[in-house]
Symmetry: C2
Subunit: 206 residues, 2 copies
């Protein structure tokens, strides 16, 4: 029982993800989505019961894509030294700098939400952010074995902040006055530099 409408559904989701990532919820019109997806305008209401329902689906997919990627990589980090695990974590966090791929779009959608969270996003975050935060807290916990839980959570966020500022402001930082390069070698250098500093901080604190 293959559903013929799945093709339309997927086309809408794909187009909507790109546009929501690029222009945000308010800045993206139904007409822009259907034009890119090559479907009829009423298809969105038929398949998703409106713009908001479509956005909900895009948000869920983005969240799933991001956390699954992070959790999968973190599963094997126990075999690495804490320093190598930290460096790998930071390099993965900086990955969206390299290409405008799917992960990059997912992060952009999250960036929009971080400015003005929708109720849909709030719910998603409160329900499903715990595993990802667990990965990060476990990582810093290997450096801070005596720290309490609150400190570990703050340390995890602090670590994420060191990466996210480069990812989030990629566009501005590529121009003057910073002129941050985005070729593979430069990003690798950036990842190693941040890893060195973060390692120094955690080692001297633990």
């Amino acid at each position: 029982m293959t559903r013929p409408s799945e093709v339309t559904r997927e086309r809408i989701l794909k187009a909507a993800e790109r546009l929501f990532a690029e222009r945000g919820y308010d800045g993206t019109s139904i007409r822009a989505i259907v034009a890119r997806a090559h479907v009829n305008q009423a298809a969105i209401n038929y398949h998703f019961e409106g713009k908001e329902g479509l956005y909900r689906e895009v948000l869920r997919a983005a969240f799933r894509g991001l956390t699954e990627h992070q959790l999968a990589s973190a599963a094997q980090s126990g075999q690495l030294s804490r320093e190598d695990a930290l460096a790998g974590f930071i390099r993965r966090q900086l990955r969206p700098l390299l290409a405008r791929d799917e992960a990059s779009r997912h992060i952009r959608i999250f960036n929009w939400e971080s400015v003005r969270p929708t109720p849909v996003f709030r719910k998603l975050l409160s329900e499903e952010a715990a595993p990802f935060m667990g990965v990060a807290t476990d990582l810093v916990g290997r450096f801070l074995p005596t720290a309490d839980h609150r400190t570990l959570v703050v340390a995890a966020i602090w670590l994420l902040g060191q990466c996210s500022i480069f990812v989030r402001n990629r566009e501005q930082l590529s121009g003057p006055p910073v002129e941050l390069a985005s070729d593979e070698a430069s990003i690798e250098w950036l990842a190693q530099t941040i890893s060195r500093w973060a390692t120094g901080a955690l080692q001297s604190a633990g």
Copy 2:
């Protein structure tokens, strides 16, 4: 020659700053602004030549307010030890966490711009970000006397990232699963904790 229209102008600017900070450029309607400012709808076009012109003025005021505050505080940091100067810088960066004051609104406007920069913002940034970045690079430069300019710029951004993630995501972090408190004592603890880690990183790197 006092201009009677200044009252209307200021009322519009004040209302617009609040709404742009809260809902972003696209999410804020002219009608919402004039309703809050208690002025006629056409006043915006009369005084600012349209919504975009008004936004330009709000953006300029926000930029001025933020950087002036930072630059003024940085002027006397040369008398402090590098560790104390760093701690003060971090504490000032975290200030918007304490209250929803003017600085908090300015930062929110910048957050909107970091997701999808308007041409107005790009120009402003490329022309006037240098002094502020200079303060930050000078600060980290006291820890990294042998580093080249690119490394100092990256270190400055890296330092800003450690603070901005808490400021930017204040709303989400105050809820589950993080439950970050925002009373004065908690923020002071946060500032000292970040200062300790950042100091450790820069000391071990320099």
